[in-house]
């Protein structure tokens, strides 16, 4: 019995269980967060989506597919979101890339940090305040009145899809620049020299060397912006004037105005499903393009 005294057994047990315990403890906060703030609410939303609207608004338990059949009534909102969110993401990426390239390649390291901070600076003021500013810039005493001076009259920007796209680029640029910057900064500059030595024009070097190597950053930044744009409602509300209607606006109306929670839940489920499918195929596409760089998404 010497070798297996209770004390020895306890000792050997702690030796093998401790790492597991530590792992479990380290994972616990994330797991609890995931379960209680994501899975549980999603389940509630799913259950609600099969219910009925209570007479004074709210939720009445039931099992009906009617809410899903009513989804076409929000077709325009889905259409607006599914066209303007990808377009806004693309435009943001197009504007962000040269900025990130400039920061990572051209700017001297002395100024780099200061410049990066400047990219982030807009985040220090409230988003609402910045959209109010854009309402004035895009309103008829702003940009259109300057265009009128050079003879282009009757331009309407505010409360059109264009205003929403401008707002998207402005609002989400600070989220798009850093991931692209990180990809470009890691880029081995000797590859660019090698490409030039081997006779490639700068354009060809860009498309065959720089861009593919920066793709993970572009993909990550685009994902961030796309997901936020898909669920946004403040931007279309402010710069679209209630006339450019996103799914986010439909949800706010359904939960806060008409208080049709079950239909709102069905719209949410549809939105989550669309996002899931879109992101799945997008990631597959990106990973196939970057093949061996699966792990290096930034």
């Amino acid at each position: 019995m010497r070798g297996s005294s209770p004390r020895m057994m306890a000792l050997s047990m702690t030796k093998t269980t401790r790492p597991k315990l530590v792992t479990a403890l380290l994972l616990a906060p994330a797991a609890l967060f995931f379960v209680f703030l994501l899975l549980v609410p999603l389940t509630v939303v799913l259950i609600f989506s099969f219910g009925e609207r209570a007479p004074a608004g709210g939720y009445l338990p039931a099992f009906t597919l009617q809410n899903y059949m009513d989804l076409p009534a929000r077709g325009k909102a889905f259409f607006n979101t599914l066209t303007l969110a990808p377009l806004g993401t693309l435009l943001t990426a197009i504007f962000a890339f040269p900025m990130a390239y400039f920061l990572a390649v051209k700017v001297s390291p002395r100024w780099r940090v200061a410049m990066l901070i400047l990219v982030m600076a807009p985040f220090w003021t409230s988003q609402l305040l910045r959209y109010y500013a854009w309402m004035i810039i895009l309103g008829n005493k702003g940009l259109p009145s300057w265009l009128a001076i050079v003879g282009i009259t009757d331009v309407r920007i505010i409360n059109t899809p264009w205003a929403v796209l401008i707002g998207a680029v402005y609002g989400f640029l600070p989220l798009m620049v850093p991931p692209i910057y990180v990809s470009l900064e890691k880029l081995d500059k000797r590859l660019l020299e090698a490409s030039a030595d081997l006779g490639a024009t700068p354009t060809r070097t860009f498309f065959q060397v720089t861009l593919p190597l920066a793709l993970p950053g572009v993909a990550t930044g685009s994902m961030l912006v796309f997901i936020l744009l898909m669920g946004d409602y403040i931007l279309p509300q402010f710069l679209g004037g209630g006339k450019v209607f996103f799914i986010g606006n439909a949800l706010v109306d359904l939960f806060l105005q008409s208080r049709n929670w079950p239909f709102g839940a069905a719209v949410s489920v549809a939105l989550v499903a669309i996002m899931f499918v879109t992101i799945y195929f997008y990631m597959r596409f990106v990973l196939s393009k970057t093949d061996t760089r699966r792990a290096a998404l930034v």
Binding site: G57, A73, I136, G241, Q257, S258, R259
Partner: protein, 383 residues
């Protein structure tokens, strides 16, 4: 505190008394300059029966007041905190529907609510507000209220809410931007689809937008008739491409010159007209909305005692008068009217002639919960 002289001559006293009687100074000013206020205060401490606001003793914590934007006097709220030790936390909302949605979702922690007339019966039926104990806020005097404002807050003889302010929903026209002179909702929608295309806004609010469109078609403001609502939807959807915006925050585009005409509430109209005299407010000759906002106490309010103390404080005429001067919305209390300066009382936007009001209607409770109206508004917005 302003410094008052410690004595006043007899003739000066009589002058001040005349000024007070004529209504050119407030009671507060009169009591202040004559020293009567101080005298009363000293006397009343010696006579417990006269001691004011004894109900304010023993209060603490925070009072959650849920109301509309720019709808209170910060000075009054600060004074309430000074007198009672109760901090006021103000929650601001954009629509009655939104307030109801939050209350239906549960555990808001709110104490005092500012609901509009047509929502009160629903709050009562859903057991969300309590019958008011009028003894707990003696400063409220039903006899001083215009009887037409007392209806919505009283259900089966029980008072569930007391009037705060009233107003109308009409439309405002920037007369520098157009020579058109619309006087009815019919003309409002016709102009929007015609000469003022791209320059008009309607509110992001089912009650007024659907109601006013219904009036333009000759239906009732509160219609829930399916055939009539279908016609309303046709009108609204046909108007939508011509609208500058669907928004309840129409002061910026009106001030900015983006919009020339907007569906508009009394308070915004008064503020716009004060700063820009070319802003002309009209009530539809074919009808429209008259509304009364109320104070109500949430059932199970966490700080119920403070809620009643607050009602007693805020409904005290001279304090209420300061509220009106701060936000500019017409008062329902005749005692407060006497304390207001002529510039407010003579403002036709705030106090329109009685015959202009006769065509207006209260919103009906049914419009708040009616699923057809809610869905119509949503379809109009997403069209």
């Amino acid at each position: 505190m302003t410094k008052h002289p410690d004595h006043i001559s007899a003739s000066k006293f009589l002058d001040e008394l005349r000024r007070f009687q004529k209504g050119s100074v407030t009671r507060r000013h009169f009591l202040g300059v004559t020293g009567l206020g101080l005298a009363t205060a000293v006397l009343s401490t010696a006579m417990p029966g006269l001691r004011p606001r004894k109900a304010y003793a023993g209060l603490s914590g925070t009072l959650n007041v849920t109301t509309w934007p720019n709808y209170f006097s910060q000075e009054n709220y600060d004074n309430f905190t000074k007198q009672t030790g109760v901090n006021i936390n103000v929650n601001v909302f954009g629509s009655n529907e939104e307030m109801l949605a939050k209350l239906q979702a549960g555990s808001t922690g709110w104490d005092v609510l500012v609901p509009t007339n047509y929502t009160i019966s629903t709050y009562k039926n859903l057991d969300l507000i309590e019958p008011l104990d009028l003894k707990l806020f003696p400063s409220y005097d039903p006899a001083a209220q215009d009887p037409r404002f007392l209806g919505p807050g009283t259900i089966d003889g029980v008072t569930y809410a007391v009037p705060k302010d009233w107003g109308t929903t009409g439309f405002i026209v920037n007369t520098k931007m157009t020579t058109e002179n619309p006087t009815s909702w019919k003309e409002f929608f016709a102009l929007t689809q015609g000469p003022l295309s791209g320059k008009a806004t309607v509110q992001d609010y089912q009650l007024t937008t659907i109601g006013s469109a219904a009036k333009a078609l000759g239906y009732g403001f509160n219609t829930v008739d399916k055939a009539e609502l279908a016609e309303v939807e046709k009108l609204l959807v046909a108007t939508k491409p011509h609208l500058f915006a669907i928004t309840s925050d129409y002061q910026p585009p009106m001030r900015n010159g983006d919009a020339a005409m907007a569906m508009c509430w009394t308070t915004d109209a008064a503020q716009l007209n004060r700063d820009m005299p070319e802003m002309s407010y009209r009530l539809g000759t074919d009808g429209g909305e008259i509304w009364v906002d109320h104070y109500a106490v949430i059932k199970g309010a966490p700080n119920r005692d403070a809620a009643y103390a607050f009602l007693d404080f805020i409904l005290t005429p001279d304090i209420n008068a300061k509220e009106i001067e701060a936000h500019g919305t017409p008062t329902t209390d005749a005692r407060v009217l006497k304390l207001l300066p002529e510039s407010i009382l003579k403002n036709p936007i705030l106090y329109p002639a009685a015959d202009q009001l006769s065509a207006l209607e209260y919103g009906a409770a049914e419009t708040l919960t009616n699923p057809d109206r809610a869905e119509l508004m949503a379809r109009f917005k997403s069209a």
